[in-house]
Amino acid sequence: MSQPAPRQLFTVTVYSENCVGLLNQVSVIFTRRCLNIEDVSASVSSVPDIHKLTLTTWSDRPTMEKVVKQIEKRIDVLRVFLFTDDDIVYQEISLYKVSTQRLLEEQDLESIIRHHSARILEMTPDYTVIEKTGHPWETEALFDRLRRYDIKQFVRSGRVCVTKSPVEYIDMFLEEQNRRQNGNNDLSD
């Protein structure tokens, strides 16, 4: 038997039509193979009417290449891309809600915020909301630093990313589709 392929964190970006149930169409393909989606974000893309899903999952490359093709097979999906961390610039955002009173007791508040390149979004007598954008290990580091101030709530967004590639493949794809459409005959009798 050959060695199993090594597991690593993959980022999958899915460009699709903006339609109801798209996320379900994509997620069931992960479910079938018992792949856990670590995080997910959905947003508009740079192209009007085209949506972009970004998902991350731990798996191996042969499996992910099959998953990508199976997602791309869905009718409402335009293109799917598979990345590892080296291929992309990526970030996530975290919010930390902490006790204002505990925070004010801390002498180093300003330096913590500055050191972690975070910022205060909102401060009331009861709570303070701190925001940090960065890589997972950076948002986690701030979490560890703030833990002693009684973190009341914490949330981390899914990953968002753009590629390092100089070529915009989705634009190329759309141009190709335009050519294909213009090449098709009109069906109206």
Partner: protein, 586 residues
């Protein structure tokens, strides 16, 4: 038939009527369905179009979808199903999954509760889109009448193009009762979907270079050949380049059984020659097939010496199970025609083609002898029933099967002259498929004899469709190979579970009395001597007929590659495994 006035603001119609007219506009003349509360407006509209659209009222929604599958597979056209919401929709789920696995073009219309009730657990509401998304090529809920035309146009285009598959349109009641005032237009373009890949010349050239060098090549022809109408192209390619051809289960009848280059069926119960030679081949050419695990056996031991050329229109099949040396993303017919040109004439290693025939002689001696040539008093086998009926129909009938031993025996011993002559639930293996599928096949091809091979188990899973057969006088020839057992499971229990026949014996009713209750002629066949006359009676006219044939319950399907073993591990009987030495010994 009165001329239809085009839908326009001056001539508006209900969403339901627009739906019916759109289905007709897609060259549909037959639909299979069952009415219910949330699809009533569509059934009301159908009432005015019975001269253009033949609605077959089945007895259970599962029967409707399997019938539509049989219709689609026999004709190459899109099968259309109309059912109601909730239980009606849920009852077609098995068929959707089956059609998805077997690439069958279907458009399935499900009624749905009114838009304002969606999500409220309303009466007969179920999440049709959520349920069907993973098992359909595409599905869409339509909530507004003005969206019906576009939805139907997309549905038909998607269902029948590229690798065909089932599509669901879940139509909320509001959309059925609302107003449509625009005419229907077919489409042939969706920007996120490209079903017609342009043939890549470098892929063809790479494949051709490998085939020209091949010493021991083998073509594996699947259902993609039938879907693209590539039967003649396949035969020409094989003939010009001297390539032996084997079929997958669903590929059967894409090449005539008596073609000199046809070497038999692949898979768990396939023929010895193609299975054994798969692992001796140096080039495998898979055409419109997906290297299903029943074909490959243990994938890691599959075709170890072969370069794999994989031709398919669905790129997600490449490297899914078996890694390909060259993947040709194309329509099967286009690819085969281009390869015929590019490869030209070539020859095989001496003895390669003959090696299939040598294997066939061993199979004849070790398997056919016991299955087909039993002596007078011995109990009957399924193989001899199938072979005798094949002979009696001049090998030119459509064979529809259920699932299990009946299916494997039909695939092994029925012979084919014409395309689209074998209809079976391959990927999903749905018991209960056979009877309704045979109805659909006969409705689609009234000019052909349709023989449905069933076991006593599968027959009873959709036996209610005898009512449909009675009502519409559908002339299917129903052959129950009755061993009072769930025979295939029994076979596994016999071979691998120490003969512990857990829950496989069946106490059956009198099937001839059941047939009589539905006004269907039938005969019981208890001995070999009675068989020819019974078959003759069955085929005497074009009416439905049922044969209830006593079969030896110990009859087993051989050869057999046990699950998890390599494709060249072949049992010829419970005690004898095929060995290459058998060939040398003659």
């Amino acid at each position: 038939m009165k001329e239809l006035q085009e839908i326009s603001p001056e001539n508006p119609v209900s969403g339901a009527e627009a739906l019916v007219r759109a289905i007709i506009a897609e060259d549909t003349d037959t639909v299979f369905g069952y009415p219910g509360g949330q699809i009533l407006p569509v059934y009301d509209a159908l009432y005015d179009y019975t001269d253009r659209l033949n609605h077959i009222l089945v007895r259970h929604e599962q029967g409707a979808i399997h019938a539509a599958q049989g219709f689609a597979r026999a004709t190459g056209r899109t099968g259309v199903v109309i059912v109601t919401s909730g239980p009606g929709a849920a009852n077609v789920v098995t068929g959707l999954s089956d059609a998805m696995m077997d690439s069958t073009p279907l458009v399935v219309i499900t009624g749905q509760v009114g838009a304002q009730y969606l999500g409220s657990d309303a009466f007969q509401e179920t999440d049709v889109i959520g349920i069907t998304q993973p098992i359909t090529k595409w599905s869409l809920q339509v909530r507004r009448a003005e969206d019906i035309n576009a939805a139907v146009a997309r549905a038909f285009f998607i269902a029948r193009s590229g690798r065909p598959g089932p599509v669901v349109l879940d139509i909320a009641r509001d959309a059925q009762t609302g107003i449509v005032d625009t005419p229907y237009r077919k489409i042939n373009f969706i920007r996120s979907y490209d079903p017609s890949p342009v043939l890549n010349k470098s892929q063809i050239e790479a494949a051709a270079a490998i085939i020209r060098q091949a010493k021991r090549p083998l073509i594996l022809a699947g259902q993609g050949v039938a879907i693209s109408g590539a039967e003649k192209a396949l035969a020409r390619f094989a003939e010009k380049a001297s390539l032996p051809v084997a079929n997958t289960l669903l590929g059967l009848s894409t090449i005539p059984s008596d073609h000199p280059l046809y070497k038999g069926m692949l898979g768990m119960h396939g023929n010895v020659g193609p299975n054994h030679n798969t692992n001796r081949a140096d080039v495998i050419i898979g055409v419109g097939m997906r290297f299903d695990d029943r074909v490959t056996g243990l994938a890691s031991g599959y075709a170890p010496d072969a370069k794999i050329i994989h031709i398919d229109i669905d790129p997600s099949e490449f490297d899914k199970v078996v890694a390909s040396t060259v993947a040709v993303h194309a329509d099967a017919r286009e690819a085969l025609e281009a390869l015929t040109e590019a490869v030209g004439e070539r020859s095989n290693e001496e003895g390669w083609l003959e090696s299939f025939d040598r294997c066939a002689r061993i199979e004849d001696r070790e398997v056919f002898e016991a299955e087909l040539r039993r002596k007078d008093q011995a109990p009957m086998t399924m193989g001899e029933v199938v072979a005798t009926i094949s002979e009696a129909t001049a090998h030119d009938a459509i064979a529809v099967t259920d699932v299990g031993q009946n299916q494997m025996m039909a695939s092994r011993y029925f012979r084919f002259r014409s395309p689209r002559s074998f209809i079976s639930s391959g990927g999903l293996g749905t018991m209960g498929f056979g009877l309704p599928a045979s109805m659909g096949a006969k409705i689609g091809r009234p000019d052909r004899t349709v023989v449905c091979f069933l076991g006593d188990g599968g027959f009873q899973m959709t036996v209610q469709e005898l009512g449909t057969i009675m009502e519409y006088g559908i002339g299917v020839k129903i052959v129950i190979m009755n061993n009072n057992f769930l025979g295939n499971v029994r076979q596994w229990q016999n071979l691998f579970y120490h003969r512990r026949f857990s829950q496989t014996p069946l106490l059956n009713p009198d099937f001839n009395m059941i047939a009589a209750a539905y006004g269907i002629q039938s005969l019981e066949v208890r001995s070999r001597a009675e068989l020819p006359a019974a078959i003759e009676a069955m085929l005497a006219d074009d009416k439905a007929f049922l044969l209830n044939i006593d079969i030896d319950p110990t009859d087993m399907v051989f050869p057999m590659t046990p699950a998890g073993k390599t494709v060249d591990t072949i049992m010829l009987s419970p005690d004898i495994y095929f060995t290459p030495e058998m060939i040398e010994k003659k």
